[in-house]
């Protein structure tokens, strides 16, 4: 059976990357599929690599790009599903209750005048560490861009917007010194969700390290 050489494989990979298939895990699978199709075509129809590649891509490029979109959609669904599963666990309720209890006790012992300013910083806690770690991973360690990890940004953005809204909302209660239960609930929700998002991030990274060992090592 005819096999493509390294240069041919790299050519396919570059072509797909230039066609906006950014994520390494998606591109790797597409490259293998396209290469296998081309090897088969070259074997049965004859012709050189570039001719066969051009012929194949003319009729299949739209399918390959559509597959990329579907893969991204699948990565988003998978992340949200993980979050939903974690949210429905009993341990999450225990963590939420614990944070709520500690926050409420803490709020009744401190001077709350300056708390509103600190609350405004809470949303940053969710997104800044992720951005720092991701930029370091890409630029310093030159790690490939994986769909599952990069799409986590979607979850972080939802978290950021939600936390921002909740902090603004709880700020009114802090200002009026009327109801610290609500403020404690807000802190507990933000704390619990942040811990879950961190847990999901670590699990996804661990999974990629296991499944794509030969790509990252």
């Amino acid at each position: 059976m005819l096999k493509l050489d390294k240069e041919n494989i790299q050519f396919i990979d570059n072509y797909l990357e230039n066609s906006d298939i950014f994520y390494a895990d998606i591109r790797m699978e597409m490259t293998d599929h396209v290469a296998s199709e081309i090897e088969q075509l070259m074997e049965t129809e004859g012709g050189d690599f570039y001719e066969t590649f051009k012929f194949y891509m003319v009729s299949n490029k739209s399918i390959v790009l559509e597959n990329n979109k579907q893969f991204i959609k699948c990565a988003d669904t998978s992340i949200l599903k993980r979050l939903w599963i974690d949210l429905s666990k009993l341990t999450t309720l225990v963590i939420f209750s614990l944070i709520f209890f500690i926050s409420y006790k803490w709020l009744s012992t401190i001077e709350v005048e300056g708390l509103r300013d600190y609350m405004a910083l809470f949303p940053m806690v969710s997104i800044v560490p992720f951005c720092i770690v991701y930029v370091i991973a890409l630029n310093i360690f030159k790690l490939p861009r994986f769909s599952g990890i990069e799409r986590l940004a979607f979850l972080y953005m939802i978290g950021f917007q939600l936390f921002h809204f909740m902090c603004a909302f709880s700020g009114l209660y802090i200002k009026s010194k009327s109801n610290f239960y609500i403020v404690a609930i807000v802190i507990a929700v933000i704390g619990t969700l942040s811990l879950l998002i961190i847990k999901i991030t670590l699990n996804i990274i661990r999974q990629y390290r296991k499944d794509y060992k030969c790509m990252t090592s």
Partner: protein, 141 residues
């Protein structure tokens, strides 16, 4: 009605005799039809159940070979289905370097093996029902 061979994936022992006819299972020609889309997941699970692990292109070729070209799975249908099954925890992946490139192999998880049995049973029941509807004589045999 055109005969197709794609149900040869199914365990013949699990099917009633009425489905056997000249060693070919009856099913409607589903190539290029919306009908086969609902069975795609079952086909994938069944193939993976029969081998240790498979990669995407291998699955398309295996289906083509088993159905003698009657049924062709496009990558546009196959990969989203594989990724969905992976996200649902029915498949696990393994990446290996083969022929100058990286190849993603899929294999069934324990949950996936259980789901395969259930999906196959579901499909067999569906075929049985359809058989009764479209060919009552044969179903009475």
């Amino acid at each position: 009605m055109k005969l197709a061979h794609f149900v040869i994936f199914l365990d013949e022992n699990l099917l009633p005799n009425s489905f056997m006819h000249k060693n070919i299972m009856y099913i409607w020609s589903m190539a290029n039809s919306k009908l086969y889309k609902g069975s795609l997941v079952t086909i994938i699970l069944k193939l993976l159940n029969e081998s240790d692990k498979m990669y995407g292109y291998e699955i398309t070729q295996k289906v083509k070979e088993l159905t003698k070209g009657e049924l062709k799975i496009t990558e546009g249908a196959l990969y989203p289905a594989l990724h969905k099954l992976e996200a649902e925890g029915l498949l696990e992946v393994e990446v290996k370097k083969v022929d100058n490139r990286l190849r993603k192999y899929y294999k069934l998880t324990e949950k996936g093996s259980k789901e395969t049995v259930s999906k196959l049973h579901e499909l067999q029941e569906y075929i049985k029902t359809m058989q009764v509807l479209v060919n009552p004589k044969l179903s009475l045999e």
